[in-house]
Amino acid sequence: MGKNTRTILICSGKGGVGKTTLTANLGIALANSGASTAVLDADFGLRNLDLLLGLENRIIYTAQDVLDKNCRLDQALVRHKKEPNLALLPAGDPRMLDWMKPEDMKKISEMLSEKFDYVLVDCPAGVEDGFKNALAACKEAIVVTNPELSAVRDADRVIGILNTSEVEPIQLVINRVRPNMMASQEMLSIDDVQGILSLPLLGIVLEDEQVIISTNRGEPLTLTDGRSPAKKCYLNVSQRLTGKDVPIIDPKKEGKSLKDKFMRLMQTKVF
């Protein structure tokens, strides 16, 4: 491989913590910054990345066809109309899980590496074969979790497996952060989660209704013009991923009402 392509696994263990949403938004943000970016849906059982990107009607071939040599790679890649720097390689049908091997995924990722600067692999939930296949395709990893018991526990399992692999660096994104609940100490804090998982923190994403709305429309937030808390966070994560020295968004500074300020006062350590 001539190019220094970064192949990044986006995983979480638990389902529903926001892997696919992060993949879609990060993909758009990276592409928007000028890097040619591919997003690979490695969730063959329950694929959704096409939906989040609004590309579900444009899929003709899938990763499976590429492996079977039914088509060339560029025939299977779906270019995003509004962000031509971004292409999706759709997942094949669930039956692929029966025969798919880590080497197959590796092959796909090597093919993508020849054409793109960034390859983001949206990993399936769980720690079984689907996860291990996706892992084989990547050189680094982002673990997504929520400030919530079950998500952190599952993330810990995944990190245990990642630590035995060659993947490096492994970075953490804490998703669905609610500053108010953290301020009133009814939610695990960023420090709690990061301390327990002991991974470098790549960023946080605030809980935001706009995420649901953007999913409904099939337009990731980073593609839209509006301002929203989650969009700001996704852009921040993207910048930090590309090595820009910007600080992580601090949820403590996000709430601006008097109540939020009072809650912050209550967090002061007395002894």
Partner: protein, 110 residues
């Protein structure tokens, strides 16, 4: 303890749930992480015996002083074996008792 905790305590109210969450999580993870290196008891004993058998083929070990254990730091688990050698099997005493220690360290990344 934070200001909030202090007020809660003074008023006899329940503490905020994040504390409970943190404590429960730390407990369950401590369990999970040990579970993953399920070498702890039976298997470790078996492995210790086999290691000793192999080493004993070549050197005479001071069985009283043998220590084989798993040590975990951060996320790394290491097998640490401390096997004091009395003499080589060919007869000559090469080392004085407990003078030299044969240390085998194998990393089992878990």
């Amino acid at each position: 303890m934070t200001l909030r905790d202090l007020i809660n305590k003074l008023l006899g109210r329940e503490t905020a749930s994040a504390n409970t969450a943190r404590e429960r999580l730390q407990l369950v993870l401590a369990h999970d992480r040990v579970d993953m290196s399920s070498l702890t008891t039976d298997l470790l004993d078996k492995m210790r015996k086999e290691i000793l058998d192999v080493v004993a083929k070549y050197v005479e070990i001071d069985f009283e002083e043998v220590a084989v254990s798993l040590e975990t730091e951060d996320r790394m688990t290491a097998l640490v074996a401390n096997l004091p050698i009395k003499r080589t099997i060919t007869g000559d005493i090469k080392f004085k008792k407990n003078d030299k220690e044969d240390k085998i360290q194998k990393d089992i990344k878990k």
